[in-house]
């Protein structure tokens, strides 16, 4: 009897498609553009393998960031966590630990960093932006201190092969790692109680609390996972650099956040998808790759990338306008 706005089934469907695929449309558009301009060098299996390889670090770290952002938070410290992670791995290898132990050590240390932010945010109710901004500086310093302000190069192990490009077109295992974890996180978000709670906390924290969702625990876990995924990113970055580098990944957090946001997540929380995030990360790698293929100067590339970040949310704007018009 109360008359709700009539939401026609068709426009709902259209909106759904747009929500899920707006970033994908963007990706296809960008790819199409570069393919049209440089078909011979851009459209090769080899080049796609490189694009994917160069997406792996951002992509895997962005999985964790997606959780953090869906839960209504933000983590500016992931770039520093990645740097610290590579250093920890390198030092552990130098100490003679096995590659597996070293990698797990790196992931563990990163998770601890995430936990630290999470604790400050949940226990002391501090703003995530500020806490993680502070952590960004502190962890960068810690990485430099640990590494004695120098890159650390341990002997070669199989870890280094994680980012090795195979024969023409073969994907490095790091890419498979990213894809595998992406599937896991997507399942986590959809089919577990924790996943639904992440959305609930980001959508309306007060409601979540009143419904008995353990809000603090969910947030803490989300930051721990954010740290752990940054740690996995560190493993890949370590493999990529073949060493631990305390100065690596400066400013990477902003690229990672951009990937998540381009992928359709909202910084206000409650919204975001894993597939969107991956597409967002890919868009940025494709732009960087394509600009090099076109022989554009660095500065043109920077302008184009900035423009594409804005254009990607513009798509979102049209989507929302469509949504608003429908109720």
């Amino acid at each position: 009897m109360s008359d709700t706005l009539p939401v026609s089934a068709k426009t709902t469907w259209l909106r759904h498609v747009l929500t899920a695929f707006a970033p994908l449309v963007g990706l296809i558009a960008v790819c199409g553009l570069f393919a049209a301009l440089r078909f011979d060098t851009f459209v090769t299996p080899d080049n796609f393998a490189i694009i994917l390889q160069q997406t792996a670090v951002i992509g895997i770290a962005a999985l964790g960031m997606t959780l953090v952002i869906i839960a209504g938070g933000i983590d500016l410290s992931v770039g520093s966590i990645i740097a610290l992670g590579t250093v920890v791995i390198a030092l552990l290898l130098q100490e003679g630990y096995s590659p597996l132990v070293a990698a797990l050590g790196g992931v563990g240390a990163s998770a601890v960093c995430g936990a630290l932010s999470g604790l400050l945010i949940t226990r002391l109710r501090l703003l995530p932006f500020v806490v993680t901004l502070g952590m960004m500086g502190a962890l960068r310093g810690a990485a430099k201190g640990l590494a004695n302000e120098q890159p650390v190069y341990p002997d070669e192990t199989w870890l280094n092969d994680l980012m090795q490009l195979g024969s023409r077109g073969g994907l490095p295992s790091g890419v498979w790692l990213m894809l595998g974890f992406a599937v896991l996180v997507a399942l986590l978000l959809r089919y577990t109680r924790f996943g639904r709670h992440v959305f609930a906390v980001g959508s309306n924290e007060l409601t979540a609390r009143l419904c008995g969702v353990p809000v603090e625990r969910v947030k803490l876990l989300v930051y721990i996972l954010g740290g752990a995924f940054a740690g996995l990113g560190a493993v890949l970055q370590f493999a990529y650099l073949t060493g631990g580098d305390p100065t690596t990944a400066v400013g990477l957090e902003l690229n990672i956040i951009a990937a998540v946001v381009i992928g359709g997540a909202s910084l206000a929380g409650g919204q975001g998808t894993i597939i969107g995030t991956l597409v967002g990360a890919l868009i940025m790698s494709v732009v960087a790759n394509g600009c090099t293929k076109l022989g554009l100067s660095n500065w043109v590339q920077e302008i184009v990338t900035g423009g594409i970040i804005i254009a990607a949310v513009l798509l979102d704007y049209f989507r929302r306008r469509n949504a608003a018009a429908n109720g």
Binding site: M1, S2, D3, T4, L5, V7, T12, Y191, T192, R193, F194, G195, R196, F199, A200, G202, S203, N204, L206, T207, A208, R209, L210, C211, G212, V213, P214, G270, Q271, G327
Partner: protein, 490 residues
């Protein structure tokens, strides 16, 4: 019969504020127990303690004879004590089904069984008489009334021994209120208990078996509803006699202050025409969602005008809220928290925002604000206090005062007494009467018919975005208005 629930000596302070000062409450199995009291009496605080949302400073609770001290809402829910909150508690991005099972998702080992969730949610909505609400859409896309129902369904889905409803009807449609009452009676018949909080005393009279009155954080009276009158209850609440709730003095009408012709907004209103004169109070009745708020917003240029004209005094044509203020119009929002007030800014800031000189003398503004605080009888620490710290009634006074301070001659009032206690209501009605008497024009939206019948000179009914003709109040009855509102007559 031994009580299912027994609260005694409950105390709670928020800093310097004593919200509960030794409250006791007994609820019997299979009864509907009304809890009433002024704004800020401590009703919601008491229920939040009961449902585990906050902890008491002192006091004991017993559930079915055993000590009851829930560490959080989930524990309380598991023990069978479930609360529907006064403020909407909806996660807008989650689906309706997910909202209903939130915090208690069915499943094992951390996995959620979505099919089972939908089944539970569907059953709960069916029990509420609204199986038509879709389960898969984001809850944020529902109307406010439907969101409220989702919240009630959440309480049902888990099963409960004690259901707490904190002002559940303030944004429900008439039909949904009836369905809710039916549900409450069914629960009672099943031997479950319902604690019912409302500022509508006739609901209390119609529904409850017993009542408890809170005043200033203390339980001042309790008894059987059948053995008292609502006038007596009101007196217990406010601490004085509340007779003559409504005031309508004889007021001469002047020239036309507002004329709306064929107005249509983006979605609603569909078509609305009205004429409002100085010295007159015109009421707008209708069902929730009929588009009355949208009509006021369109008049005030907050929403876009699709067709039609608005003439304010001698001014006509398109406008912005800024121009409306300059033309002597003022709007009181129906949603004080979300739209009406900037809660973390000061009283002064909120009061003076619509009309400021390019350069400001803060001292003069503070003095002026102090004057208004006195004139309106606002209880506060001073003009610099953040308005969010005030109780609801006092916030509402400042929101109303804003229209007066900024020279509004035509007052658009959207649900001016929503969530306000009976004493405060009386004051607001008096104020409206005084204003009209001094030559101002008032256009008032309310979902509460007695108050429209009690305060307005004429009433117009809106149905599905179309505004009917305004009739003198003497020609209106609750029945005739309901018929017009549901579109069954006319």
């Amino acid at each position: 019969m031994s009580p299912i629930l027994q609260l005694s000596g409950i105390r709670k302070r928020f800093g310097a504020t004593v919200a509960l000062d030794g409250v006791s409450l007994e609820v019997l199995p299979g009864e509907v127990h009304a809890v009433v009291g002024e704004n800020g009496a401590g009703k919601s605080t008491l229920m939040k303690i009961l449902s585990g949302a906050i902890a008491a400073d002192a006091g004991t609770m017993q559930l079915a004879g055993a000590a009851f001290a829930p560490a959080g809402p989930l524990q309380a829910r598991r023990a069978g004590v479930v609360m529907v909150n006064q403020e909407l508690a909806i996660a807008p991005h989650l689906s309706v089904a997910e909202n209903i099972v939130l915090g208690a998702e069915p499943g094992r080992g951390g996995l959620v069984r979505h099919a089972e969730s939908r089944r539970l949610a569907g059953a709960a909505l069916a029990e509420l008489g609204r199986p038509d609400i879709p389960l898969h859409v984001p809850a944020g896309s529902l109307s406010i009334a439907e969101q409220q129902l989702v919240e009630i369904a959440r309480a049902l889905a888990l099963g409960c021994r004690v259901l707490v409803l904190d002002e559940p009807t303030s944004s429900l449609t008439h039909a949904d209120v009836e369905k809710l009452f039916g549900l409450v009676r069914r629960l009672r018949a099943q031997g479950r208990s319902v604690i019912y909080i409302s500022h509508f005393l006739e609901e209390v009279a119609a529904l409850s078996d017993r009542y408890t009155v809170l005043r200033d954080g203390q339980s001042v009276a309790t008894g059987r509803t059948a053995e008292t009158t609502m006038d007596r209850v009101a007196q217990l609440m406010v601490g004085r006699q509340v007779n003559e709730l409504y005031t309508r003095s004889v007021r001469p009408t002047g020239e036309v202050a507002l004329e709306v012709t064929g107005l249509a907004g983006p979605v609603k209103p569909v078509s609305a025409s009205l004429q409002l004169r100085r010295g007159e109070v015109l009421g707008l009745a209708g069902l929730v969602g009929a588009g009355r708020s949208e009509l006021l917003r369109t008049i005030f240029a907050l929403d876009a005008v699709r067709a039609g004209t608005v003439r304010v005094g001698v001014h006509a044509g398109p406008a912005s809220p800024l121009w409306r203020w300059r033309q002597g119009l003022g709007l009181l929002s129906e949603d004080r928290k979300r739209e009406g007030l900037a809660l973390n800014l000061s009283l002064e800031h909120n009061l003076t925002l619509p009309r400021l000189d390019p350069f400001i003398r803060p001292a003069a503004l503070a003095t002026e604000t102090r004057g208004w605080i006195e004139k309106l009888g606002v209880r506060c620490a001073g003009p610099a206090q953040a308005i969010g710290n005030l109780s609801g009634g006092n916030q509402q006074k400042i929101a109303l005062g804003r229209l007066l301070r900024n020279g509004a001659d035509v007052l658009l009032l959207d649900e001016p007494t929503r969530g306000v206690d009976i004493g405060a209501k009386q004051n607001i009605y008096r104020l409206i009467d005084e204003l009209a008497g001094s030559g101002k024009a008032v256009l008032m939206v309310s979902s509460y018919l007695p108050e429209l019948l009690g305060t307005c000179d004429r009433i117009a009914v809106m149905c599905r975005g179309v505004l009917g003709p305004a009739r003198p109040v003497a020609e209106c009855t609750e029945h005739s208005i309901m018929l017009a509102a549901t579109g069954t007559a006319a």
